[in-house]
Each structure stands twice: as C-alpha cells, then as structure tokens.
Amino acid sequence: MAQITNREIQQAGRLDSAEAFMALRERILAASDPNRTEIIVCHGTGCLANGSVKVAEALQAAVKAADLDIKVTGCHGFCSRGPLVVVRPSGLFYQRVKPADAEDILQSVLEGGQPVERLLYHDPNTDQALPQEKDIPFYSHQMRIVLRNIGKIDPTDIGDTIAHGGYLALAKALYQMSPEQVVAEVERSGLRGRGGAGFPTGRKWKSALAAIKKKGYPAYVVVNGDEGDPGAFMDRTIMEGDPHAVLEGLILGAYALGAHQGFMYVRAEYPVAIKHLNIAMEQARALGLLGQNILGSGFDFDVQINRGAGAFVCGESTALFTSIEGRAGEPKPKYVRSVEEGLWGRPTVLNNVETWANVPQIIEKGGEWYAGLGVPHSTGTKVFSLVGKVNNVGLVEVPMGTPLASIVEDLGGGVPGGAPFKAVQTGGPSGGCLPYDMREVPVDFDSLTRAGSMMGSGGMIVMDKRDCVVDVARYFLRFLEEESCGKCIPCRLGLTRMREILDGFSQGIGSEKDIDDLVSLAAAIQDGALCALGGSAPNPVLTTLQYFKDEYLAHIKDKRCPAGVCKDLISYSIDPDKCTGCMTCARQCPQKAIAGEKKKPHVINQELCIRCGICMESCKFGAVNVA
C-alpha cells in the first residue's frame, strides 16, 4: 500500500507536533494510489500452517514486473478456508489457495477477466459461488471495529497503519484533549473489559486517577496479552495483525493517567505476536510516537514486553503482576484493588488486548458513537473465536447482543452435517455450556451471566451430539488442575477431588449423593478459592449439571455414555455391510485387536480393544460404529 517505503518513513525522524504527523500522513496517502491492485495473502496461524508462505512466494515469483503488490497481512478470520487470498480493491475472495494457483490468479487479475472459478467460495447450502468477500455470510454478518484493519494492513509497516487511520487518535488526544477528557470519553463509550469479567474500563481508569491523586506516581499501564482460555485466539490475532492498535490504545491510557511506563505481558506461545509488537514499538519510537516527548507534546512514555513462561494463572491480574516482578505467578487476595496497589504496589491499570485496541477508535470517533453500538449495558462489538463442531471455524466480530444462534448458524454455518448444535461452551474454563434451547440468548455480558455462563475472553466452542458433557466438564477440571498455582487449598485439592468424582461418572460409578456432594463441594470452592481461577472453576460442571442432568444420570444409572465418548462405557464395532476389508484399521490398531481377511469385513476383538478410537478415525468408509 504505502508507496513511501518504511525506510523513508523512518527517515522522517521523530515527529515533533500533531501537524508534522498529519503532514506525514498526507504524504503517505498522496503517494499511494487507492486503485492500485493488491493481492493480499493471509498469514494468520491457520493459513500459515496450511502453507500460505509458499502461496505468497509463488505469487511474488509470478508477479515479476507486473504493476501490482503482493501484501502479507494478519489473520482474516476465516481459518477453516485457508490459505486465503483477497484481491483489492476489487474484493475478490479466494480460498484454499495452493502455490500452483498463483499463475491463474495473476492472469485473471492482470487481464481483468473472469475470476478463478475453482478457488471461489461456494455457499454450502445453495452451492452458489460468492466471489466477493463482502457477500460471504461469514463476513457480511460481521461488524469489524477492532478487526477493521486486520487483513488490510501489513502489520509490520507503520506507514500502512498510519494510512489506515493509525495514531490519529493519539495526535488528537495529545493536542486537543486533556487527560481527564480522555478518561471521560472512555467512560462515555460504556466499554467494558474484554478479558472476562467485563468491568467498566472508564470507571477503572477513573479509580486509578483517584488512587494516583492519593498516592502519587509512579503509576503503570499494562496490557494483558496472556490469552490462555482454550479455544480463544482473538488477542493473538489482534497483536499479530494490528499491533499498533494495541500500542496506541496503551499510549492513550498512559496519557490519560500520566503514566510513563507500560508493560505488555504476552504469552510465550505467541512468538509472532511478540515479534510484531516489538517491530511496532521500534517503528513508533523512531517516529516519536513512543518514548520521550511524544509528538512534541512533552509527554514521555515507554513500554517493555514481558513474555509469559507458560502459566495460565498469570492471566489473573495479581499473578500477572507478580510474574512481571520476576517471580512465580501466584495470585494474592484482592482486598485492595490493583488500581490502587498493582505492579510493585503502585496504582496500575491492567486491561486486556482487545480492550486496549478499542480505545483509539473511541477517542477518534467519540464515546457516544461507540455507546450506540451493541446493547445498552454491553456496548460496542466483541470478537469471538468460533471453534469445535462448526463449519466456519474462525474469528468473527459482531455487535454485543447478537443472538447465540446467529453467531453459530449465520456466521458459523452451523454444525457439519447440518444437525442442530448440542451446546455452546462460552467463557472458557470459567464459563459454561449453553444448550440448543438457549440459542436465542443475546450474547452480552449480563445475559450470558444470567444464563449461568459468562462472556470470558470470547471463545465459543460448539459441541454436537458426539460430544459428552461429562467428558467436557472433566476436561476443564483437568485443565485447571494442571494450571492451578497450588497456593490455596480449595483450588489445589478441590479441583482434583471434583475431577475424581467425575472420573467415577465417566466409568459409570456414582450416585445422586455424589452429584449432591459435587454441587456442595463446588460451592465451597467458589466461596473459598483465593482467585478467579479456582473461584470459577466449578462453572463448567455446574452448568452442564443444570442443563444436561439426564446425561449425567445416563452415565451413573444406565452405565451409558450417550455421546459415545467415555471409554469405559462404550465399545467399537465394525459394520460388515460398510466394511470393504481395506485393512487400514487393522494396520493402525495399536493393540492388533482387529482381524479380518483382505476385502472381507473385519471384526474387533473386544478383549484386546483399548477404545482408543484410531480405527474409527482411520476408516474412510464410516464402517466403524461406537455405542
């Protein structure tokens, strides 16, 4: 996009006024031609794993002298269709692109001819080709505020970011707004924390200002990029695809509070996010958008990145602070709020990645504009990751209050095979499972809480009839058992004891008294645990008990796992009518429990079978049944 190269921009040196920034922006815009063709290759994790680097290389090689750009961007969200290629400005959308398709794509672009038919997205219901990105339901139902630039900009190019509106809010705030006005604007927006609990961001900032008034400086601003909820990857996508948005939001927060030092705590499992944030910071420093005397305003602020070291609990605020301080991330009781006593005991504002990334647009367009999106007590949009048994696995952004069914069915395309979904797990290990009957629930902070689940960071795991709720509840307990810091007794011992009771259920052992004990122990853990990890850990068990008690009873009374998951209650068999005798299962079986002659139906020896399920996974003819 930017025809002024990064190098030239960096040579502009540190900008010393809002005018100098606007002049640079004008230069970048003037030098770029909005009608120039760009072929955009998604480099999100999903596309990368499916070979998008080779696709980009092939396009680059094929482009030769042609007058167009190949651009690599962050995640476009439609991960299940990757590698994705989009032609701009035409908006032509290609999916599952291979390096060998490069020549055809290029030819079509250069000759302005027909799109490459075989790479177009086809509506699974009507089989109609939808060549334009904007016509594909996965995109057309979205409202992209936080993700607005992801998939458009080169995240490693500050010029491209500036051309797309980056740092406009910062220039505005530094020269046209007092710090108090910035806080007031965020408060007016109604923005609530996107990390899980949904605390109003403006109110948090205001309390921090009050604490600073009382205690003085230093104060800190911190990005929580320790996205740990399984099935959630929105923060990763934002940090990778639009790192400047997070950085700009943080600088704005620092300006509002008068903080001079910020920290970004990012999961070690996200190396690309760390890399892109580092590049963004370096570029911002070179332009005077970060560091001493930002844009000549006299305001100083800088940021340090702390990599996580593999501990889910460090997403909890007090544990995160302890980890930044260099120690084992054990939470502390929060009877004094972190806005008063946070990092090194100083007033600290901690917000998650998506929250910070919302701030620049709130400042640029006004809190009122933002408050008009979504629903009254949950304003704005929210990014969700749709995963599990859903056709369109990926990342979507919708206004708060969108019904659950709309997200799973309209955007997600429903469950593969067309059956209704069984449940949707929201809120990660702290959340709950909502059944199909609850599909009209508006997805906002308060409605989800009322339904027994929670927003969490925005992971939505879609389950179908082959997923067992007892197994899922066990899974989350096991997850948190491993991630518990072990400091307090209810969490360290209680999660294991709850899981042991569920282990029994999964083996058909248990009684209604055990269910009662489970609920009573869950209440003790909710009340007694030190931090939110333990305090919310029983939620998946409690919501599945609330909505799927019959399935629990099927396990302990009928000794049956209706979903066919719990190993001790199921058996595999081969349907002789479907089995072709290809012998694949017999070869893959680790127990050599499958016998049969070539081209004749095979049989599983139940004595030897360990119910690993490899036969079912490897059968191409759907001949292996589980019951």
Partner: protein, 202 residues
C-alpha cells in the same frame, strides 16, 4: 475506633486491623492454619473464611487479610462459612491422615471421616507455606521454597539436596501447624549438621 458487628455482637476495632485480629481481641474464635503473627499473611489455607454483608448481598472473605471497616457485618459461622470449612477439612483429612493436628481440627468441626481416597498415608504437609515465609521473613535466609506448581507443588530446598543457605535454626519446625517439617528438616540442613544456628548462611 471502628464500630462493626461480628456474629451479632457490636465490637470495636482499630484502623488497620484485620477481621481476624478484631475477632480474637474480642474472644471470638476463628480457626486458622497458615496464619502466624510473626510473618505476613498469605491467604493459603482459607480456613479463616467469614461471611460479610447482609441479607441482600454477602460474600465470603478470609478474615486474616480482610481489613476492618466502619459498619462491617461479619458472620464467622454461617452455613456458607461452615460449608467451606467442612470441605477443606474433609479434603485435608484425606490428604494428611498422619497429622494429629489435622485430625483434631477436623473433629472439632464435625468431620470424622472423609469420602476421598488417600494417596500417601505418611503425608502431613498441607502446603500452607508458613515454613517458607518464616525462613524468608524472619530468619532471612530463604533456604526453602515451594517447588513446582499446582497439584505437584511441594516444599523443600532446591534440587531436594542439603541447603547451603539453611542455618539449622528450626524456625520452620516451630511454626509448622501439622508437624510436617520435623520430618523434613534433616534432609534440608543435612543429617549431621554440625553447624550452629547463625553460621553457614549466605
């Protein structure tokens, strides 16, 4: 002076006190395991939970760290409080059957048996961390620490070998509420530790 209510009784507290301090000053008993006056509170054992609030809104907090406030209404023995304590003790009974202190405490709260299986009949440690805190905060040598995390966590010296930092003062044994440290000290200071207290530290 701060005026507040504990179990229906009007009591007075000084600014900066915790609920636990206030209760004990007024002769109201709240059980604790990880609390000791000599070191900073940590909030690990959760046995000292109390319920604060009224009929419309209440929550469970730990009294050893919760600061007093004017008009605070505290219940030290409500059904919610009892439920937390009962389960903690029932789990500890399964975890540390070898500790007479735990058995006595559990019995005091009506917990005689446990539904949970025991994995190590000799275990006495409840991982309250008092030993670690006293070693760091009072003795000042930090010879021991927690090792690992979560369900795998234990207490000991680095690499489980004799510690150069240990001064064999025995403070950890003194503060240990379950008798677990008596059995461990020798492995930390060296069985034939000829050193006197105060020597050999860093």
């Amino acid at each position: 002076m701060i005026n507040m209510v504990i179990d229906g009784r009007q009591v007075q507290a000084q600014t900066g006190w915790t609920v636990l301090e206030t209760a004990r000053q007024n002769g109201i008993h709240i059980p604790t395991l990880c609390h000791h006056e000599a070191v900073e509170p940590s909030g690990a054992c959760r046995l000292c939970v109390v319920e604060i609030g009224d009929e419309t809104w209440s929550k469970i907090v730990i009294s050893c760290m919760y600061p007093v406030a004017e008009g605070l209404n505290v219940k030290t023995d409500s059904p919610r409080v009892k439920n937390v304590r009962r389960w903690i003790l029932e789990m500890l009974l399964a975890q540390c059957p070898a500790s007479p202190e735990i058995r006595a405490l559990a019995a005091e709260y009506g917990v005689q048996t446990t539904r949970f299986v025991n994995h190590d009949p000799n275990e006495q440690c409840i991982l309250c961390g008092l030993c670690v805190r006293v070693c760091k905060e009072v003795v000042g040598v930090s010879a021991i620490s927690t090792i690992g995390r979560g369900v795998h966590k234990k207490i000991g010296s680095p690499y489980g070998v004799v510690s150069d930092a240990c001064v064999a003062c025995g403070s950890c044994v003194t503060v240990c509420p379950t008798g677990a440290m008596s059995a461990r000290l020798d492995a930390i200071r060296g069985v034939h530790a000829g050193r006197e207290a105060g020597k050999g530290g860093k």
